[in-house]
């Protein structure tokens, strides 16, 4: 299974029926494809809609109906459109149950850096800072390493997205839960050992006696 599919499938298991969910651009967007049967969530796109569908249905595509990446989307029956203040009021006001975001780095404090590499890549934070500060539950979906270098670090050396501790980190190797005591290794991916995860991680990991394998299927 492709690394990104592993991540998306595992993140999808975190979503519960009725949740209001915001998926970041890129890998997080693909989570919608892997929702378990029977789980119905509401997807928010921060440019102003609840009830987006990832792929337009015939007749629903429209130049005025797009996702936060600018791509065409559809809308479910009962969708709601609104302005940017309402959109981020929902986010900042703790009405968003889950946000799934990509990451550049996560550290032992559970802090996320995902919006800039000084001098190299300065896309801007868009909605990421509000999402990480405001969502009830923040899930980071990112590859465990970049070109062999660990992305789960003792301390982020890139500018933080928020000082808030994220709730869960899902990579192609592991599920890690940041806690007040540190990063707890909760699960490993199929075919990956605890030792491999520890070796690919700069941060200290708290490793329980039993580390189950992610319950994802082909």
């Amino acid at each position: 299974m492709d690394d990104k599919v592993v991540i998306a499938k595992r993140v999808a298991l975190e979503l519960r029926s009725g949740n209001l969910v915001n998926l970041g651009i890129g890998l997080p967007t693909t989570v919608a494809r892997y929702l378990p049967a029977g789980v119905v969530v509401h997807f928010q796109s921060e440019n102003g809609i609840i009830g987006m569908q990832p792929v337009p249905e015939a007749g629903l595509a429209n130049e005025f109906l797009t996702d936060a990446g600018g791509g065409p989307i559809g809308a479910v029956a009962g969708a709601a459109a609104f302005d940017s203040c309402m959109s981020f009021g929902l986010i900042r006001g703790k009405h968003l149950d889950v946000t799934v975001l990509g990451g550049l780095q996560v550290d032992e404090l559970g802090q996320l850096a995902n919006w800039m590499v000084p001098g190299k890549m300065v896309p801007g934070m868009g909605g990421a800072m509000d999402l990480v500060s405001g969502a009830r539950r923040v899930i980071v979906a990112m590859t465990h390493t970049a070109k062999g270098a660990p992305k789960v670090l003792k301390r982020c050396n890139l500018p933080l997205t928020s000082v808030r501790r994220v709730d869960l980190l899902v990579t192609e190797m592991a599920v890690i839960e940041p806690t007040g005591a540190g990063l707890v290794l909760k699960e490993v991916a199929p075919g990956v050992t605890v030792e491999q995860v520890v070796a690919a991680t700069e941060a200290a990991l708290i490793v329980p006696d039993q580390v189950p394998v992610m319950a994802i299927t082909e």
């Binding site: 796109s45 921060e46 440019n47 102003g48 809609i49 429209n62 130049e63 005025f64 109906l65 797009t66 996702d67 936060a68 990446g69 600018g70 809308a75 459109a81 609104f82 302005d83 940017s84 203040c85 959109s87 981020f88 009021g89 986010i91 900042r92 300065v122 896309p123 801007g124 934070m125 868009g126 909605g127 990421a128 800072m129 509000d130 500060s133 405001g134 500018p159 933080l160 997205t161 928020s162 000082v163």
Partner: protein, 221 residues
Amino acid sequence: MSKAVNVTKAVELIPDGASLLVGGFLGVGSPHRILAELVRQGRKDLTVIANDTARPGVGIGLLIDAKLVRKLIVTHIGTNPETQRQMIAGETEVELAPQGTLAERIRAGGFGLGGVLTPTGVGTVVAEGKQTVEVDGETFLLEKPIKADFALIACWRADYNGNLDYSLTARNFNPVMAPAGAVVIAEPTEIVPVGAIAPDDVVTPHVLVDHIIEKGMSNGR
């Protein structure tokens, strides 16, 4: 009295050096005909406050391509490599703001509030140089209101008095910006008779709108 005016006349109202609030999200819900006319008339030294700069050749990207912008206040420039190039080369000043914060700052400007107290950005580089305020033991950033000489917004329908409503995700920053522009120019997809927009469907009341652009074409592209 009809507020309809053609796009050339409307853009002639905007001087070099003006500050512009520009609606839209990656070009969706941006006033495309106004932006194209700004380029045609060669307006320069502009300050642009907007969510993003779309892409080269699209929406606010047109102003960037033509190097008409001196300063940008935006949330994201990742979709426009030319904006990034101009920022790194020091040709365009770019101030980055979190999206929810930018929306509230503009709202505060238009609604007479002294600022925004937000948890977003506390402890990050966004907080540098900014006042923080403690409220009941929690720390908030004080983000200042934003107003501009002009708000250039797009809408779906306008009536001739200037009542506006919006379509789906093309709404985005547009209704938030209307109160914050000293002069508000709206580019509708279509203009309808006064009374054709029901009172409950009016999102931006006409008193906030100074001019509406005639002969709206779908998205202006």
